[in-house]
């Protein structure tokens, strides 16, 4: 069996525009008032056909519209893209088609159109259930708008997920516990809970560098936030299946599982990354980042990629280790060895089991709850072994 089948095959499509840029966001997103959606449509369709030609005959498990704010796309654009996708690959019976949506009233009005185009899951960026905090996070919507949009989504789509950001400025543990419990009553089947991370090159990053971003929790409180999050979600039957993702059994994001299980994914759009296996090689691809430049490149050269290279075996192994240990199900040791060309030393594994960071079952290792809390260090430890 080809290795990528262990993770499946998906398509990621990047829409690089937002109405405003959030101060914590380090994604490839841009604010633009004039977007020629017809022109973008031609480019996306052309790219789908191009990559389709080299992945002929594959069964597609997932499509994901990410961004940016894909809910700024006209439903007609989404519909045309999905029509081309169906014409290019065979879709799995349970093919998951997700679109990231802003929880505003305007977007909610487009939900029905997205559903009719074939979207069967939305992931909403609600981020907080407190108006003051939404403003601090630079979000344009209010809590009331978000709840209303969520209700529309709930009745329109089979599956709905939303994101919250925690460990925010001046947030207390108690506030978060209450907010999270509240969020869990909203009857989503999936929820992504991200600890606020201040990245370089963002507005928050600049503020932090100038000492103007105050009230962020230190490591101890961060750890308490994370632990409380696990506890509350667990009690609500929404265990973490990945570091920051919680779902009812069976409602996990199939698309994201492809990443974490080291399946294959096509990346289309500005700055979109892809991983494609061919024979024994695994290729990494990356689209040109600037939206205008990507568009022109697709139009003039019929290819928006800025990079396409074979991953070195060590890098392939490192990626698998890094991604798969985020999952509760963990990592397959034989798969890791097949990439790395070497096994992880049994002594190293035994040491990590002894200090309670991992558990080892037949051919599979998992990070324990304690291990997942310090996963970066754990991964570095295993990777150096």
């Amino acid at each position: 069996m080809e290795d990528w089948r262990n993770g499946g095959f998906g398509l990621y499509l990047h829409w690089p525009f937002c109405q405003s840029k959030c101060p914590y966001c380090d994604f490839n997103s841009h604010v633009s008032t004039r977007i020629d959606q017809d022109r973008w449509q031609r480019a996306y369709l052309s790219e789908i056909s191009r990559v389709g030609a080299e992945t002929q005959g594959r069964l597609l498990n997932s499509v994901y519209f990410g961004g940016g704010t894909p809910s700024l796309m006209r439903p007609e654009l989404v519909s045309a893209i999905l029509a081309r996708v169906r014409a290019t690959w065979t879709l799995a019976n349970d093919c998951e088609i997700t679109l990231e949506a802003n929880p505003g009233s305007v977007e909610a009005g487009r939900f029905r159109g997205y559903r009719d185009a074939g979207v069967n899951r939305v992931s909403m960026g609600i981020q907080a259930l407190a108006d003051g905090d939404l403003r601090a996070l630079g979000r344009a919507h209010s809590v009331a708008e978000a709840r209303a949009a969520f209700d529309v989504a709930r009745t329109t789509f089979d599956r709905v997920s939303f994101d919250l950001i925690y460990a925010r400025q001046n947030q207390t543990l108690k506030n978060w516990q209450k907010e999270l419990s509240d969020a869990l009553t909203m009857a989503a089947d999936h929820i992504s809970l991200y600890q606020l991370t201040v990245e370089d090159g963002t507005a928050f990053g600049d503020r932090l560098a100038h000492g103007k971003l105050r009230g962020l929790p230190g490591e101890e409180l961060s750890a308490d936030f994370y632990a409380a999050t696990q506890e509350i979600c667990g009690a609500a039957g929404m265990d973490a299946y990945e570091v920051s993702n919680h779902a009812k059994t069976g409602s996990e994001s199939r698309h994201n599982l492809i990443y974490w299980r080291a399946g294959d994914y096509v990346g289309i759009g500005p700055g979109a990354h892809g991983r494609l296996s061919q024979n024994d090689d695994r290729w990494a691809t990356e689209g040109l980042r600037a939206p205008g430049a990507w568009l022109s490149k697709v139009e003039s050269e019929g290819n928006g990629e800025a990079l396409r290279e074979i991953l070195r075996p060590a890098d392939r192994a490192a990626e698998y280790l890094m991604m798969s240990l985020r999952l509760r199900e963990g990592m397959s040791l034989p798969r890791y060895s097949s990439f790395a060309g070497d096994r992880i030393s049994p002594q190293k594994l035994a040491d990590l089991v002894e200090i309670g960071m991992i558990s080892v079952a037949t051919n599979q290792i998992r990070a324990t709850d304690a291990g997942r809390m310090v996963l970066n260090t754990l991964i570095a430890e295993l990777s150096a072994a």
Binding site: H14, T197, E219, E220, N256, G267, G371, R372, T377
Partner: protein
């Protein structure tokens, strides 16, 4: 050969920065010994490190021809000696090869501790001394005050001191004339059997070992069969030359002359500085007095950062040893640092110079362990052992008592800082021997344990006096004290490279400072780590480095894989700069930083 009364042999005594090398340059230049176009600053300091640090490490020599006012042309042999205490032995043997010295003192700075030590060496060697006040053209120059100071502190008559500016050339003719008129000519008997002093030797890539000699009696010629009296080795002289300062062949060297020869000698170690050289046949009966090899007094471990560089380090050390017989090395294995060498040095500057040369000239990345001194262990069975490495300390039940080397330290300091100096010396277990004043400067003499000085005494001295203190020392002998080995345990395991000998009364404070410092230096791990200082099995200080609680990236999706993988690569590269010790990774800088501490 030159008539004895037309020869003057001399050295220059000065504190660092008082202008010794510049004066030497001017003497060479003004006599036309070196053409102006070939002149470069600090001509005699040939090593990069010497030029950079403005110091002289090896003795260097130049033969100058000087037509004096009396109409005769004299041969002046200048031996430029190191000024630093670490190289005191090089100074003392160079001093015995000449008859007089120029004492160069900065006309605004005055006499420094180092000047004193070297002047006493010159006086011990029976030198005639001509005081020279340099930098006389600077606005801050106070020649009268400094003359008075020379008389008060050293006890030399300074009224005829020569006033010069080596930089501008002012007064240089007076210096040359004084060398001829005020310094004595050498003595010697041309008809007596050959008796020559081995002053220095070095390795030259083209010529092999080059030996510098001062002829006392007799004549040395090319082709002569000679014998080293100390080693009894016999050689044939291949080339004979004088230094101007480049080698110029000469047919013979007679009494009072200084020159060099080569004799197919393989390594510098085969030549003993201070040895007496005579002819194989009809040699002299008694050697020159006072031969003693230089003894390393400070030891430390040198380990390659990358274990794969061990062979390269071995080669580099061998090559450096070829040219520096005072530097010793033997292989050492450390559980913490792997394979390396335990090296002995003449002092801390010597240690730094050698380490710099290894890193720079041989492109090596090194970990240097804490410097230690040689303790004498008096065992219960009567044996006396030298302890070079605290890690080798035997079980105390076998040890009767321990002695440590003491120094006599002379510190000169403006009296504003005297209190700080006394406190520093007191804190380092010093015993005050003398305290006197010369103007607004105090001179304090302390008996101190060398072990307390090799850490960061000099750095502390400079910082508490804002650089105004000068310091010099001589080894004064060994004395018993209540010394113990303090071990450092990280995660319950002793880290050999961090163990040290300390005075029992200071062990708690030292141990506490050490574990606190290590707690800062060792990054947190996935588990908690006890850090302890112990004497034997008794823990005297303890800290616990808490376990890391949270370190996980919140978001990691398909688009993040490349970037996060690159971060992981960086993290792994960082881990390579750590030393694995048991389950704990200790950063290299911890081995050095942990030992640099106050008080």
């Amino acid at each position: 050969m030159t008539q004895l009364d037309l020869i003057r042999n001399f050295s220059i005594v000065a504190h660092i920065d008082h202008g010794k090398s510049t004066l030497a340059d001017r003497l060479i230049q003004s006599t036309g010994t070196v053409k102006d176009r070939d002149m470069k600053a600090q001509l005699l300091d040939s090593m990069d490190i010497e030029r950079e640090r403005g110091i002289t490490i090896k003795a260097n020599t130049v033969r100058i021809e000087y037509p004096a006012k009396d109409g005769k042309t004299y041969i002046l042999n200048l031996i430029d000696t190191p000024g630093h205490v670490d190289f005191a032995y090089e100074v003392s043997r160079s001093m015995r090869a000449v008859e007089g010295s120029l004492l160069v003192v900065d006309a605004s700075q005055g006499v420094e501790a180092q000047t004193l030590a070297n002047v006493y060496q010159a006086l011990d060697a029976g030198h005639e001394i001509v005081p020279v006040l340099n930098k006389i053209d600077l606005p801050a120059a106070e020649p009268e005050r400094i003359k008075q100071q020379i008389e008060d502190v050293i006890g030399l008559d300074a009224k005829d001191a020569i006033l010069i500016s080596a930089k501008s050339g002012l007064g240089i003719p007076d210096v040359l004339e004084a060398i001829v008129t005020r310094l004595p000519a050498p003595k010697g008997d041309r008809e007596a059997p050959l008796k020559a002093m081995l002053v220095d030797s070095w390795y030259d890539a083209y010529l092999g070992v080059v030996v510098m000699v001062r002829i006392m009696d007799g004549v040395m010629k090319k082709g002569d069969r000679i014998r080293m009296m100390q080693t009894n080795a016999v050689y044939g002289i291949d080339t004979l030359a004088v230094l101007k300062p480049q080698m110029v062949d000469i047919a013979e060297l007679g009494p009072g002359e200084i020159g060099v020869f080569t004799a197919s000698i393989k390594q510098v170690r085969d030549t003993r500085v201070g040895d007496t050289i005579t002819h194989e046949r009809k040699g002299c009966e008694t050697p020159l007095p006072g031969f003693k090899p230089a003894q390393p007094v400070v030891f430390c471990g040198l380990f390659p950062v990358d274990a794969a560089d061990f062979e390269a380090l071995r080669d580099a050390i061998e090559k450096l040893s070829l040219n520096d017989a005072s530097f010793s090395s033997e292989m050492e294995t450390s559980a913490a640092l792997g394979f390396g060498f335990r090296c002995g040095f003449l002092g801390l500057l010597h240690l730094e110079v050698i380490r710099d040369r290894l890193e720079r000239e041989y492109d090596l990345d090194l970990i240097t362990t804490a410097p230690s001194v040689v303790f004498k262990l008096y065992m219960k069975d009567g044996e006396v052992r030298d302890l070079h490495n605290p890690a080798d300390m035997p079980d105390l039940t076998f040890v009767d008592h321990i002695e440590e080397p003491r120094i006599k330290a002379t510190i000169m300091v403006p009296d504003d800082y005297l209190g700080d100096i006394l406190k520093l010396c007191q804190d380092r277990r010093g015993i005050q021997l003398d305290l006197s004043y010369a103007g607004s400067r105090a001179m304090v003499v302390y008996d101190l344990p060398l072990a307390e000085v090799v850490f960061d005494f000099y750095d502390r001295l400079k910082s508490v006096t804002k650089g105004y203190a000068s310091f010099d020392y001589t080894i004064s002998g060994y004395r018993e004290d209540f010394l113990v080995k303090m071990s450092i345990l990280v995660n319950e395991e002793p880290v050999d490279a961090l163990s040290m000998m300390v005075h029992r009364d200071r062990a708690e404070a030292r141990g506490r400072a050490m574990v606190e410092k290590l707690k800062e230096l060792i990054p947190r791990h996935m588990f908690k780590i006890p850090i302890q200082a112990a004497i034997g099995s008794r823990v005297i200080a303890r800290e616990t480095l808490s376990a890391m609680r949270k370190d996980v990236t919140a978001k990691c999706y398909g688009g993040d894989a490349t970037r996060k993988r690159k971060l992981l690569d960086k993290q792994k590269a960082g881990k390579k700069r750590m030393r694995q010790f048991g389950k704990v990774e200790i950063p290299q800088e911890a081995f050095i930083s942990a030992l640099k501490m106050d008080g």
